[in-house]
């Protein structure tokens, strides 16, 4: 019974496949696997926009959407109808073809990343033995679509936004990949399915997730910081800073194309969160051994919603960074920490089991973390802020 519930989507797909002729089965199998992804994640996007507006509203002492449906739950539908019926305005001087293609490339790339995410037990679209590499390769094409959008609009604001976005994404891709390498070193595989399998199993009631090791924890924190920057979310939302460059690279888009940019951005955020879950949080496995009866996909989505909640919380809490602060954080703090973390993962691998290993590895990470922070702080002179053009 539990097993059936766990595999219900896999069994349903096999049952549906039986109705197709043998020759068409490979194609039908692919389509049947893709359709749930195309439905589930945009639906999650709709729920997240509501959650985000409600959550931010509460943090800022206001109600958030509360006019459409109970608790404003129908707000995403209202938003969708609004964006579909809006006039599609393209600037006269815009490069029409590139302007049209940019949101499509973004959304296509965002969806492609889901191909290697194991959503549940036996629920991965393609089990590639270079899965993590595929994820990052697809992720790097997002930069190109952002540039296409910014450049083709022929607007200074959108070009500035695109330049900022591309610079930020390239800078944070380096620590993101370096934070992932510790997992690949330990799991000995680039396949997302194998990485999840390596984290299966429990000691007592506690799972063997990579986040519960010193290097895994540091890797997870660095990865999440880089993921926030990659998805252009606050406090790293300079590319679309509303108060500076209005909306950055998609300022000249309206109607449904604008909605597509939002969709692409949120899908990218879900995909990176999904990768974080796969790499550090044990994928679809349950957090305690006595909870394994809950279906695997439910755990994946529970973890995903928890990470989304954290993203919303951070957005409501932290102010936006300045451009130099953003770059300094990436190159002076996160990058060295990621390199040290790689070294510690190697030390961990070759040391004998036991509490001594924990002590050494934690010290090896905590001491550089504190020292680096102090060294960077000493370089800056903290004083009362003076303004050049005010007073």
């Amino acid at each position: 019974m539990i097993h059936t519930l766990d595999q219900i989507f896999v069994l349903a797909k096999l049952w549906l496949l039986g109705y197709f002729p043998v020759g068409a089965q490979p194609l039908a199998s692919a389509i049947l696997s893709v359709i749930p992804i195309l439905i589930a994640f945009p639906l999650l996007f709709a729920i997240t926009t509501w959650l985000e507006r409600k959550g931010l509203g509460r943090m800022q002492n206001r109600y958030g959407p509360n006019r459409t449906g109970p608790f404003g739950l129908l707000q995403p539908i209202a938003d969708a109808i609004k964006s579909l019926t809006k006039e599609d305005i393209v600037p006269l001087t815009a490069d029409h073809l590139v302007h049209f293609l940019a949101p499509l490339v973004l959304v296509a790339a965002a969806f492609l990343a889901y191909a290697v995410l194991p959503i549940g037990r036996n629920m991965v679209l393609v089990n590639m033995n270079a899965g993590v590499l595929f994820f990052f390769a697809i992720g790097s094409t997002v930069e190109l679509s952002v540039f296409m959008a910014g450049w083709s609009s022929r607007s200074k604001y959108s070009l500035l936004g695109a330049m900022r976005a591309v610079a930020q994404m390239i800078s944070y891709e380096v620590p993101m990949v370096l934070a992932t390498i510790v997992i690949i070193m330990q799991a000995g595989s680039l396949s997302t399915v194998t990485i999840v399998e390596k984290q299966a199993g429990y000691t007592g009631i506690f799972p063997h997730w990579f986040v519960f090791t010193p290097w895994g924890f540091v890797g997870f924190v660095l990865f999440m910081i880089a993921a926030t920057a990659e998805s252009n979310r606050s406090p790293f939302d300079l590319p679309e800073g509303e108060s500076e460059i209005i909306a950055g690279y998609y300022i000249e888009y309206s109607g449904f194309k604008f909605a597509l940019f939002f969709l692409g951005e949120y899908l990218g955020m879900f995909a990176t969160s999904g990768l974080a879950i796969t790499l550090f949080l044990g994928g679809w496995s349950a957090p305690f051994s006595f909870l394994t009866w809950i279906p695997s996909y439910a755990w994946f989505f529970a973890k995903l919603l928890a990470l989304i909640g954290a993203f919303i919380w951070i957005r409501g809490t932290l102010p936006r960074l300045r451009m130099d602060q953003l770059m300094n954080l990436a190159w002076q703090y996160i990058l060295p920490m990621a390199l040290i973390n790689m070294l510690v993962a190697g030390v961990w691998h070759f040391m004998p089991l036991g509490p001594f290993r924990w002590l050494v590895c934690t010290a090896l990470l905590a001491v550089p973390c504190v020292l680096l922070g102090h060294a960077l702080k000493r370089k800056k002179k903290f004083q009362v802020r003076t303004y050049q053009f005010v007073e």
Binding site: N129, L133, A137, I138, S140, L144, M163, V166
Partner: protein, 166 residues
């Protein structure tokens, strides 16, 4: 020759041809990116996952962006716009066709084209990693050193300019 190969080949050739023929420099880069992606897809069709994804990561993700930035930093809209086609395109075409014919003749008449292909071994990423870390570790380290030197060189150049403006 399968249908997928044909589609990918047309995509790659059309992309690179457009990169040479288009007038707008940014359009050229975007067309070239299509060509890069087509080559990556051809690698994937040959089951070379590592090379294919690395091609996308390096060429689409980095080289194309670099080219685009370089164009935006240096391109001025008032520059003299040269025609895309030279007046001596007839001679150029004849030379190109001659080179193509010589190469095609050499390939067709060589013994390699008549031999049966050996069965292709399936190489996964793990084997590539093992080879890089064991047998080819010295070339890998030398490449790493070279790239680090290039990186430091780039930083030094950027730093010098900053001091001049002070």
């Amino acid at each position: 020759m399968t249908v997928t190969f044909l589609i990918l080949a047309i995509l790659t050739v059309a992309g690179t041809a457009a990169a040479m023929g288009l007038r707008n420099a940014v359009h050229c880069v975007l067309a070239l990116t299509v060509g890069f992606a087509g080559v990556a897809a051809l690698y994937l069709q040959l089951d070379a996952q590592f090379v294919g994804f690395t091609q996308i990561m390096v060429y689409v993700g980095a080289v194309a962006i670099l080219a685009v930035f370089a164009i935006m930093m240096t391109h001025s809209p008032t520059a003299v716009r040269l025609p895309a086609y030279s007046s001596q395109w007839v001679w150029g075409g004849i030379v190109a066709a001659a080179v193509f014919l010589v190469l095609a003749w050499a390939i067709c008449s060589s013994s390699a084209s008549t031999q049966a292909l050996p069965p292709q071994p399936y190489i996964d990423v793990q084997q590539i990693g093992d080879a890089l870390m064991h047998r080819y570790v010295l070339p890998l380290e030398i490449m790493g050193l070279l790239l680090t030197a290039a990186l430091i060189g780039a930083v030094v150049i950027a730093m010098d300019r900053k001091e001049e403006t002070k």
